[in-house]
């Protein structure tokens, strides 16, 4: 049995049932709830101050200009965005880095950019709720043995990965569509074209970013027999790499490079002003995905079930 046994029709069928099963199995439902609440709460936290200031201005009988309100808040939030992008300070940063902040806050809808940056950070921490049980549960209850009578391991591994990735993409689409619609209808400071274009970019960035994290969950899930252990390991590895890099860098600066063990170190570049740069980052994410998928597949193919 090898990758030569891969069958497109089998993969299609397995990925369809994986998408359906994620909701019926509970993991998808929990992920859906947590992610929707997280995404919309982030939007709520970003948009509420602006709405409150506009409401106060209207109450005081002043002419409310949403664009001025947003510009004021963006001015206050600029150092935070620069910190999030890894730009140390205005004086020391090269022109290209400063251009990045300007691109996100001035050239593109700033509110959407801020929401995307928070989602880019938060979504990898949530994805394991969806992807932890691709294989492990069926190994534990030995249900996989019945499936292996009808198809090859490669089809199961790839099909389940694709089904999980499809579900994650669908949820991201719902969140971004809701936020963009709300911004367009309620805040009304950005043109529809600009908003939709940037929303599409953010959607693609988040969707591509989830792939390596789902792949690492596939690898973990294919390596252990217990869904619970798989979830704990996925959480520890995804969150732990970021946390170790952050805390380690306080003691020993080069420890920050630990972030590159996962896409943590480069994921913000998916929102870079230069298209070639963001496309390069997307390719790097796909590279991470392929490496993790290969390791997971190798483990799954060679292990005793």
């Amino acid at each position: 049995m090898s990758l030569r046994d891969v069958s497109a029709s089998h993969i299609r069928l397995i990925s369809f049932y994986q998408t359906r099963y994620t909701v019926r199995g509970g993991a998808g439902l929990v992920f859906l709830m947590i992610t929707l609440v997280f995404g919309l709460t982030v939007a709520h936290a970003v948009l509420t101050p602006i709405e409150q200031i506009m409401a106060q201005q209207a109450k005081a009988g002043q002419q409310s200009d949403p664009q001025k309100v947003v510009a004021e808040i963006v001015k206050l939030g600029r150092p935070v965005i620069q910190w999030a992008l890894g730009i140390e300070s205005d004086e020391n940063s090269p022109a290209s880095s400063d251009a990045w902040t300007t691109f996100l806050l001035d050239d593109r809808p700033a509110l959407l950019s801020v929401i995307f940056l928070i989602l880019l950070f938060g979504m990898p921490l949530l994805i394991s709720f969806l992807a932890f049980n691709q294989i492990a549960g069926d190994v534990q209850n030995r249900g996989l043995r019945y499936l292996l009578l009808r198809t090859e391991r490669a089809n199961i591994f790839i099909g389940r990965f694709l089904g999980t990735a499809f579900f994650s993409t669908l949820v991201i689409a719902i969140i971004i569509a809701t936020i963009t619609f709300y911004l367009g209808v309620n805040i009304k400071i950005y043109s529809a074209g600009l908003l939709v274009g940037w929303a599409l970019h953010g959607f693609l960035a988040l969707s591509v970013l989830m792939l390596p994290y789902i792949a690492i969950c596939s690898w973990i899930s294919a390596s252990v027999d217990s869904p619970f252990v798989s979830l704990v390991l996925a959480k520890l590895i995804i969150g732990g790499v970021w946390l170790f890099a952050l805390l380690g860098s306080l003691v020993w600066k080069p420890a920050i490079y630990l972030n590159y063990a996962l896409p943590w170190g480069l994921q913000n570049h998916l929102l870079h002003p230069q298209l070639t740069h963001s496309l390069g980052t997307a390719l790097a994410c796909l590279g991470y995905m392929l490496v993790f998928l290969f390791l997971g597949y190798y483990r799954f193919e060679t292990r005793d079930l």
Binding site: V23, R24, G26, L29, V30, L40, H44, T48
Partner: protein, 151 residues
């Protein structure tokens, strides 16, 4: 129908029902406490809390009692339908679960219309978040879990 074999998703939905039911009842008790202690609380309020109180008063007592009653009803429906999901009962789970979802969606719309933005009224992202669970319940009970209930 898959009698006796409860999908994990239905169990997760039941657990969420219990959590939201408890949260709803605690919220109702909180609101009642606020009304009972109104005189004492109003003296120590900051400006934002005072604005929220004024907005709450602006709804009017009949609407307020109505919303309170609906909150209690929603919490009870959540609790009973949660038990219904666990037991996979058609009326207790499927019917009452749908009843909760429809009631919550209608209440959400009415609240958004009659309440001031200071206390969660109007078309805000916060209001959309409140719709997530009822809409999910409505969709899942009538698609993924439609065949999982027995009489």
């Amino acid at each position: 129908m898959n009698e006796g074999k409860r999908p994990g998703g239905l169990t997760a939905l039941a657990v969420l029902n219990f959590i939201f039911s408890a949260g709803g009842l605690i919220g109702v008790m909180g609101m009642i406490t606020v009304i009972v202690l109104f005189g004492k609380l109003v003296e120590n309020m900051d400006e934002q809390a005072r604005t929220q109180f004024e907005a709450l008063q602006a709804i009017g007592l009949p609407w307020f009692i109505c919303l309170l009653a609906v909150s209690v009803l929603s919490s009870i429906l959540l609790l009973i339908s949660g038990i219904g999901y666990i037991k996979q009962k058609k009326f207790m789970g499927h019917t009452l679960g749908n009843a909760y979802a429809i009631l919550a969606i209608i209440t959400g719309i009415v609240s958004a219309v009659i309440m001031k933005p200071e206390i969660g009224g109007g078309f805000t992202i916060g209001a959309i978040i409140e719709f997530i669970y009822p809409v999910l319940t409505l969709i899942l009970l009538n698609t993924s879990f439609k065949e999982d209930f027995t009489n």
